[in-house]
């Protein structure tokens, strides 16, 4: 449900538009280590995450990401002796403000990147991306799409094999958990060999099916376009690229003004943050607007 409403932000447009957006957002996020930028990026990522993946999913991912941030935040001051403002003494070790701030920024950036990447995979679904890639690189495209299907299939089958053996209790100890470590290892090796040969056999059949439908019959392969690139998409994509470009310039200025060591400068209000805030909030605003419109109509 959350997924559907999230895609409305980029739904009616060609893949290029969200691709430009996410490349710009993630690129800026990685390189700009400045507290205001990091904060905006985190907030934007979480908001859009809530829109496209649902608040529950965002909460679940934060459950393991938040401790990670704390760790990065706290470990940095222990190793870094730079900084001028001592907050407290932990035995012989001084706890300083600057490395703490640096750690917090790093942690924030890490979370925002993880969140933005999850959001991107939610919008740029694999089949959309492969649909694009298949045009230029049909073999690579087909290979990747098969490899992606293979892993879940192997896991599913592994579970099937393990449970089927466990269920055959009349077999006298074959697959029972009480078996010795060595026997277990042996059966593990056997079952993985078997899963491999199972997959190999499937692939032989699949390659026959591919050849039966003319795979490799000609080098002049054509490509079925599921999405058409319209002038509107080009317009949107260029507008986004221009926004990203402007933010790159502003970010260079902001980073030039900022330093962590030896002492943190005071942050002051600046109009230059506004375009970045707009860029970060854009997809969430679009998604929420879409939602509001439907609620009103429905």
């Amino acid at each position: 449900m959350g997924r559907r409403s999230g895609q409305t932000a980029f739904e009616g447009v060609h893949l290029v538009v969200p691709a430009v957006y996410f490349v710009g957002t993630i690129g800026l996020g990685i390189f700009v280590l400045q507290p205001v930028y990091v904060l905006l990026s985190v907030v934007g990522a979480l908001l859009f995450g809530g829109c496209c993946r649902g608040w529950r999913a965002v909460g679940r991912s934060l459950a393991w990401q938040a401790p990670l941030v704390m760790l990065v935040c706290l470990v940095n001051p222990l190793f870094s002796r730079s900084g001028a403002t001592t907050l407290a003494w932990l035995g012989p070790l001084p706890l300083k403000l600057e490395p703490l701030a640096f750690g917090a920024c790093m942690g924030g950036m890490l979370v925002s990147m993880l969140q933005w990447v999850s959001n991107a995979t939610c919008v740029l679904t694999q089949d959309r991306v492969m649909g694009m890639a298949g045009r230029r690189l049909p073999v690579v495209g087909t290979m990747v799409s098969m490899a992606v299907q293979l892993l879940p299939q192997l896991l599913r089958r592994h579970a099937l094999v393990a449970s089927a053996l466990d269920a055959c209790t009349a077999s006298g100890g074959g697959g029972q958990p009480s078996a010795s470590g060595r026997a277990r290892l042996g059966s593990y090796v056997r079952s993985s060999t078997m899963l491999m040969s199972w997959a190999m056999e499937d692939s032989l059949e699949r390659s026959d099916a591919m050849r039966a439908r003319g795979w490799g019959a000609t080098s002049a392969r054509s490509h079925y376009r599921t999405e058409l690139l319209r002038s509107r998409d080009v317009l949107y994509a260029s507008a986004l690229a221009a926004m990203v470009g402007a933010n790159v310039v502003l970010a260079i200025v902001a980073v030039g003004e900022w330093r962590f060591y030896p002492q943190l400068p005071t942050l002051e209000p600046w109009w230059g943050y506004a375009p970045y805030a707009v860029l970060m909030a854009l997809p969430s605003v679009l998604a929420l607007a879409e939602r509001l419109r439907w609620n009103r109509l429905g």
Binding site: A167, C168, T169, S171, R206, R213, W215, R225
Partner: protein
Amino acid sequence: MASSRGEVPALQLDGLGFSYAAAEVAPSPEPVICSASLTVPQGAFVLLVGDTGSGKTTLMRLCKPEIAPEGSMRGTVRVLGRDVHELDPMASARSVGYVFQSPDNQIVCDSVCHELAFGLENLGVPQDQMRRRIAETCYFFGIEPWFHARCAELSGGQRQLLALASALVMRPRLLLLDEPTSMLDPVAEKSFLSLLFRVNRELGVTVVVATHAPQAMVDYATTAFRMEGGAPRQVELGSLRGGHGLLGRIGDDGLAEPSGELRVSLGDAWYRYERDGRWVLRSADLSLRAGEVRALVGGNGSGKSTLLMAVAGIARLQRGRLSNALSRSQAYLPQSPKALLSRETVEAELMEWSASGYGRDEALALASALGLASALGRHPYDLSGGQQQLLAFAKVLLTRPRLLLLDEPTKGLDDAARVLVATRVRDAARSGCAVLVATHDVAFARVVATSCSLLFDGQVSLTQDARSFFDESWVWGA
């Protein structure tokens, strides 16, 4: 009307012979096909029947050089008047479509729209043509509602339909299908066949279907051939109609009303695979006595396999209770027999569980009873699908379980093999084993079952003794 189109036959075999390339196990292999001659006029709907291993698949594959097996071939195969060896892969892909048995392995792409486009892309069909053909094919087959679905989410019937559509989108004149419905349930099979029939009559595509279970197709067919001694011989269509084949000959004797002790009971069982998924079992109840053979019938997705897994203890109930007095001496045969096969040879496979108290003689005796005697030294993966099924069945049977859980044990088996399985299941029940079998195979269920449970919407809607169940049933009564 379609049959009068064109003078050239769609398919013509002339003195065709074939033997597989020599291998270590068989240095001078027997010919699989010898002096096969056959003419299929355009627009015909031809059945090619015969037991597993009679050479149906080999014959069909020889008509499509890209997938023809390795070996030595004599004679000629002409498709629409041209020798197949003159056809390049492009021409062959254009004129001959091929649908395989397995709904899973012939799907190449991960979404329905890419799968349909795959063959057209391979041929370099231009964009406009491609759009038109895909649109028309989807319209014809009613694929539009799931056009954007991922292939992994489709049911077996939908996948096989997709395979048929992906072959037809290339507009072949001749369509070859190898056991296309053996993995489908009876309802999915019938809808598949009715579409295939429309393809034949409305689009004028010549159809050749290889099958060991022709009953459901006889009404559509114009001609039938039986593979005997490596060559197809024409047979009367009417002779293929006959009721339940060999299974019908197993008498109704033997299986008494089960009066054994109550051994397994499942009460108010609820189960779903994911936290937010739909309930596959919703308040299902089931009880099973020693010596009883219970058939579980119901459509795809009605929860038969899940119920079986719940009894086996694999699917742990989220609500409800299971009491299984036989949980320490049960055996479970999953739908994919390969899940139980992990040894290097058939013999090692049969002996794997000998610790449970059976000897080599017993294993060999069962193997030869099930027709596996000649395959003892082979790798299980070199067996045919039917033989793998029998091997896995033999393996669970050897452990002399007191509770036997079978998931579609006759899937893909020919008549003779189904009789072997039916006989063994009845024997096990006579010795007091409780049997629970999920099956689509009505003829098989009629012969083995003492009672029947109908699953619908995750519940056991009805349990009855088998005879009255089938006599009163509207759908399964046939």
